[in-house]
């Protein structure tokens, strides 16, 4: 019996999105097959890997595996960003404006804007600017910071069903890409993309956030929702599902005890440092296998490990 390579014929492809400014632009997406299956078509060729920084020092909130790496730069977002770019070779920096949350400092849009400005002048690589996941406050903050970052080709987010109009308006006005976050459900994700498009936003500038979870805490839900989104983009040629997908995993990963409990506290779980890194690595790889196009990490070694694996996945056999 002769073997023939079982290729799938897809009729859709994933949008290619370009982000950043000057000579430091990056592309993501653009693939025409399921992840890394270059035997059947054009596979993804670049998957930007970002490191997350915050506008306020998260010591106390972040695991010590992380704070011991970033140390004193956590007081200075611009320095922190520079460290991630120069020392840890992040392809992008993701600035989460955690300090604008009403329960976490309630910083004003203007204060946030100053930090965005400082970070932008400290780095060359593209910037992702995220709010604090407070729908009303995020809308107020983004209006201002999107303007501060005008024409830098940044990614801003996260637009949700309750605040997408503001996000869409400022992303269009100041030339940014937009992260559209929905609640772990393929239909909700599609619906938000449709709403954005109907409001006049260019669907080619959307990046889907299907809602990341982490290993052991709902990973299988995100994984399957993402796989289904990718399949409907490729097989059904559904234009409302063909956006690249972001995997915002650092925040969820470094909250769980498996990633941060010390060996003294959990002797049965082995050494905390490699365990935490692997927790983030496996979470990232799961979502990349399910169709992710951009990953936001917190641990620089998790990023570099995934970069090595990506090199293997993209090498033509």
């Amino acid at each position: 019996m002769a073997y023939t390579v079982p290729k799938e014929a897809y009729n859709g492809k994933i949008n290619q999105v370009e982000v950043g400014r000057n000579q430091h632009k990056l592309i993501m997406g653009g693939e025409e097959t399921l992840p890394f299956l270059s035997f059947e078509g054009k596979a993804v060729s670049t998957v930007p890997l970002a490191l997350e920084i915050q506008d306020i020092n998260p010591t106390g909130d972040w695991a010590s595996s992380l704070t011991e790496i970033y140390g004193s730069v956590m007081d200075n977002p611009a320095e922190w960003a520079r460290m991630c770019q120069d020392e840890f070779k992040a392809d992008m920096i993701c600035l989460r404006l955690a300090g604008t949350h009403p329960d976490n400092g309630d910083r004003s849009p203007q204060e946030a804007g100053k930090i965005v400005e400082a970070v932008l002048s400290a780095i060359k690589v593209p910037l992702i600017i995220l709010g604090s996941n407070h729908v009303e406050k995020d809308a107020a903050v983004i209006k201002h910071v999107a303007e501060v970052a005008a024409n830098t080709g940044s990614i801003i987010g996260k637009a949700q069903e309750k605040n997408y109009k503001t996000f869409a308006a400022v992303a269009t006005a100041y030339g940014h890409k937009l992260v559209a976050l929905s609640d772990l459900d393929i239909n909700l994700s599609k619906q938000l993309n449709i709403l954005l498009t109907q409001s006049g936003f260019d669907s080619k500038n959307i990046i889907i956030d299907a809602m990341s979870s982490t290993l052991g805490y709902g990973l299988e839900y995100t994984y399957s929702v993402m796989e289904r989104i990718r399949l409907s983009a490729l097989q059904q040629n559904d234009a409302m599902m063909q956006m690249p997908m972001i995997c915002d995993i650092g925040e969820v990963t470094w909250k769980v005890k498996e990633a941060k409990a010390t060996e003294q506290d959990q002797p049965a779980w082995g050494a905390v440092r490699p365990r935490g890194i692997l927790w983030e690595v496996l979470t990232a790889l799961s979502f990349l296998m399910a169709g992710g196009n951009l990953v936001v990490f917190r641990h620089p070694e998790a990023l570099s490990r995934v970069r090595s694996i990506l090199a293997e996945l993209m090498a033509t056999a």
Binding site: F39, R275, L278
Partner: protein, 453 residues
């Protein structure tokens, strides 16, 4: 091979008796064609029809069993490509590689590492299921001696790894009863390896790194000689090749019903180079994408917990949420004055809430209600998390004897239940907690610092 539902239907009794749990013979035939049921679910098929239909009812990927007794390991028998379509049947089995040229003491340590690899998560016992004994000594007596030792000191499944038939033969005399996997038949040795597998009635791995065409024709030759419990190794050692080969094998078997590749697979993620983390990362890809058997060089605990968890996530039933047992759980070392919270038994909900209570460092009681594995809002909407149930549970778990206070913290999303619960539980006060678990630490800390309890 590859009959349609209608073609199968012709061979069925056409009585629509329903004993197969389908309303009609045709409905059953359709499921059979899609490999979603087994032929033996119909008790009335004639012998003649059975002969014809066994072929089609055979799963597209053969079920292969290793080991024995309650430590039998099942591989293969998968019917879909994506976990959202249908539950993946058999979780990737993990093996630790032990080389026979290590010292006896090192070998003993590794065996004990496998024996002690059990961890529990969400009520499941997880472990490294097998030991892969690899011949490097070039000494049949040594290989056999170590194999014997493994069987004597562990109940794990066994893989005997050598391309030299005389090595395998030596070890089999002592270990065949464990039902080990022979690794591996190659283009050069396959007739001797096949003879051994036949003699001892054992499963056999087939190795060819010359592409899937070569692998499939070798598997076909081995099967033609009468050994059908095969496991495939395409020689892929880096993530890219692994993903590409395993995907092609799975697709060829399921979508093209290509029998020469319709077998479970084995990978060696550590052979691609790098340290234990790189090995584990590749193993992770194997768990997600179709590796049946994964042989590891390193099974330190910090690597196992993430891999076990990933395996559990990928192989859960997408239709049947994981659940934890209904109970009153301690978080930290609570006493009779510690806060009492209630949630549902959906394992995701439980784990998130538990994690956040732990983050608060406030010792607490967590009462978990059986909601048939539904999240808080879903359970509430389905009436599986309601005031009478909660009141009953408080009594049943003797909560009133365990805590002195009478304050119950409920999830913010079901604040609507508070009045009703207070009616059902006279003397109790219901406190509405935050909606998002992320805000539990602040809530508990504020509460204990203001000494509300």
């Amino acid at each position: 091979m590859g009959l349609t539902g209608i073609q199968i239907f012709k061979y069925l009794p056409k009585t629509n008796c329903g004993d197969c749990k389908f309303p009609t013979c045709l409905a059953f035939a359709m499921r059979l064609a899609a490999a979603q049921v087994r032929l033996d679910a119909c008790p009335h098929v004639s012998e003649e029809a059975k002969k014809v239909l066994t072929e089609v009812s055979a799963p597209p990927i053969r079920l292969v069993k290793l080991g024995m007794g309650d430590r039998t390991i099942e591989l293969g028998d998968e019917t879909v490509l994506f976990r959202h379509e249908k539950k993946f049947n058999h979780p990737s089995a993990l093996a630790l590689l032990i080389a026979d040229n290590l010292t006896d003491q090192e070998i003993e340590q590794k065996i004990q590492q496998v024996n002690n690899s059990v961890m529990e998560r969400v009520g499941q016992k997880l472990r490294v299921e097998l030991i892969c004994l690899q011949e490097r000594s070039a000494d049949p007596a040594r290989f056999a001696q170590v194999a014997k030792k493994i069987v004597a000191s562990s109940e794990a499944g066994l893989i005997l790894s050598s391309f030299k038939p005389e090595m395998i033969k030596a070890a089999l005399a002592e270990t065949a009863a464990r039902n080990p996997l022979i690794y591996a038949a190659t283009e050069e040795n396959y007739s001797q390896m096949t003879a051994l597998a036949k003699e001892y009635k054992l499963p056999l791995a087939v190795f060819s790194d010359k592409g899937l065409e070569a692998l499939s024709s070798l598997a076909e030759k081995v099967a033609a000689e009468g050994v059908e419990d095969l496991v495939l190794d395409s020689g892929a050692r880096s993530s890219g090749r692994m993903l590409s080969d395993l995907t092609q094998i799975r697709r060829a078997a399921i979508k093209k019903k290509f029998k020469p590749l319709g077998y479970p697979t084995i990978i060696f993620p550590g052979e691609g180079g790098g340290d234990a983390l790189m090995e584990a990362a590749r193993a992770g890809i194997g768990i997600m994408k179709y590796a049946s058997l994964i042989v590891l060089n390193s099974i330190e605990k910090e690597v196992l917990l993430p891999l076990y968890t990933l395996r559990q996530n990928i192989f859960t039933d997408p239709q049947q949420p994981m659940q934890v047992a209904e109970n009153l759980y301690k978080v930290g070392e609570p006493n009779q004055d510690s806060p009492l919270l209630i949630t549902t038994n959906f394992s995701l909900t439980y784990f998130i809430v538990l994690g956040e209570i732990e983050n608060s460092k406030v010792p607490s009681w967590l009462l978990v209600a059986d909601s048939e594995g539904l999240s808080v809002l879903t359970a509430w909407a389905a009436d599986k998390f309601n005031a009478p149930k909660i009141a009953k549970l408080v009594k049943k778990q003797n909560v009133e004897e365990i805590v002195k206070h009478r304050k119950l913290i409920i999830p913010g999303y079901v604040s609507i239940l508070s009045g009703e619960i207070e009616e059902e539980l006279p003397g109790w006060k219901v406190l509405v907690g935050p909606r998002e678990a992320a805000n539990i630490p602040k809530y508990l800390r504020d509460m204990t610092s203001s000494a509300a309890l």
